[in-house]
Symmetry: C2
Subunit: 274 residues, 2 copies
């Protein structure tokens, strides 16, 4: 399969945003709330900060301690909602275990017009029969690649593997909107890919998709992330599908950078409206 | 196919609610907002009022004129939100054309804990990765029949035909949650039913599903409503699938009464929490 460079497309998106933000005279500000001492969270926040710099924006990193109370985090979010300098608010997940039971409450507390992750129930709900302010960036990243490589989408057969609220569930609704035939399965099995034009595999084990793929000319998007044998891999064993005609968005170098580029697009849009 | 009596199940649900409401000493009150002079709306409101009487509840019908202003309807909803005697609020759809552009605003204005139709963006969003207060009654009615006739649901192959925000979209998410394999198609075609355990056909033309059905022992739910040759029919030609082994929830006498029974269940739940 032809390997799509998510990084190259992400760089192109960010360069475009840098230019349009400069032309519009805006410097989008994203508040990133980092609760506790999760090393992976710090890594992702660092990547997002770098992307914000690249589009001429401003990152405000709010570091809160592991023992932050529910009320204090809600208060912090409320203040950011009212802060006119802040265009977007992002609560880096996962949050510490003691706060996890209130996650939905935190996401709901973020003003829908600043919820650039699209994770709040209001924006999630607007995807169902309405007009969301913001859609989950991972779902936007997948849809972007589908539009670039598989247009027109109507009538295409799409397979989604998984059930996550930030990738698979919004994509199911978005592909319905595009008049695709969408099949969602909770677990991958090889036969499910027969006759499929577009497959997005989020749930699974490292490199489980082997020697088999979507139909010729189709698109396979790897949306799995695993630390495996000292390297980052996805759900797809890319070497084993090399001979198939079609496109692969791989891991690493695919979804990761694209997702952040779409976060930057949401943020720039929030700044333009604000 | 064995024809399921939606009416008998609906009567059973309502009788159970009447008893449990009496035991709990509650008299659930539903405010039904009827804007304009749509005759079908009046018919449905009449059916809902009858169901409310049957469960020992209280219907408050609010009749507003065709030329009601956006602000006035919003004000009405706000007052009902604050009225402690009102447990549920239902805006009968469709609303007049002049108000239609603000529909989402009206649905959002209804307090989520009184939104017994589950149509507001908050309840819709909570279906995606959260815990909704209320789910669309048509979707609940379908899921109820699936649980009664097709348990266990995990691994069952489900086909959904359509794209509506109150039936097909919530069902897609609910069947994912049940670990089913869900396929959603925008238009019906016969081959799509091959090897399917449960099919729910909402979008279509009168009696279009003919001489063909889901696999033996499966369940076919007709969720279409048409006025055709002087009678109410659905999307399924029930005579032509009579010989197939399995179950049919037909139109009329299927979804219609069941949907209202589930509205009564949501309303009783709202009254219990309130």
């Amino acid at each position: 399969m032809e390997v799509i460079s998510g990084k190259a497309i992400a760089d192109e998106i960010k360069a475009g945003l840098k230019e349009s933000n400069a032309q519009a005279g805006i410097c989008p500000c994203l508040a990133l709330i980092d609760v506790g001492d999760n090393q992976e969270n710090s890594l992702y926040i660092g990547l997002k900060k770098k992307a914000i710099d690249a589009i001429g924006g401003n990152a405000r990193i709010i570091k809160l301690s592991e023992d932050t109370k529910r009320e204090d985090l809600l208060e912090e979010i409320k203040n950011l909602n009212q802060d006119k300098e802040v265009n977007g608010i992002l609560l880096q997940l996962p949050i510490p275990e003691t706060l996890e039971p209130f996650r939905e409450e935190f996401l709901e507390a973020i003003a829908p017009n600043k919820d650039v992750d699209g994770f709040g129930p209001n924006n999630r709900g607007r995807l169902m029969g309405g007009e969301p302010s913001f859609i989950s960036c991972a779902a936007l990243a997948c849809m972007d690649i589908c539009h670039r490589y598989m247009s027109p989408l109507a009538k295409k057969k799409v397979l989604l593997v998984g059930d996550s609220f930030d990738v698979i569930q919004p994509l199911a609704l978005m592909f319905m909107e595009e008049l695709c035939e969408v099949t969602i399965i909770p677990q991958y099995y090889p036969d499910a890919m027969d006759d499929i034009d577009i497959a997005i595999v989020e749930k699974g084990t490292p490199l489980m998709v082997k020697n088999q793929s979507v139909k010729a000319g189709g698109l396979l998007i790897d949306a799995g992330f695993h630390w495996f044998q000292d390297r980052t891999v996805g759900n797809v064993d890319r070497d084993s599908v090399a001979g198939v005609e079609g496109y692969l968005l791989p891991v690493p170098g695919g979804m990761g950078p694209l997702l952040i580029a779409h976060l930057m697009r949401n943020l720039s849009q929030a700044a333009r409206k604000g």
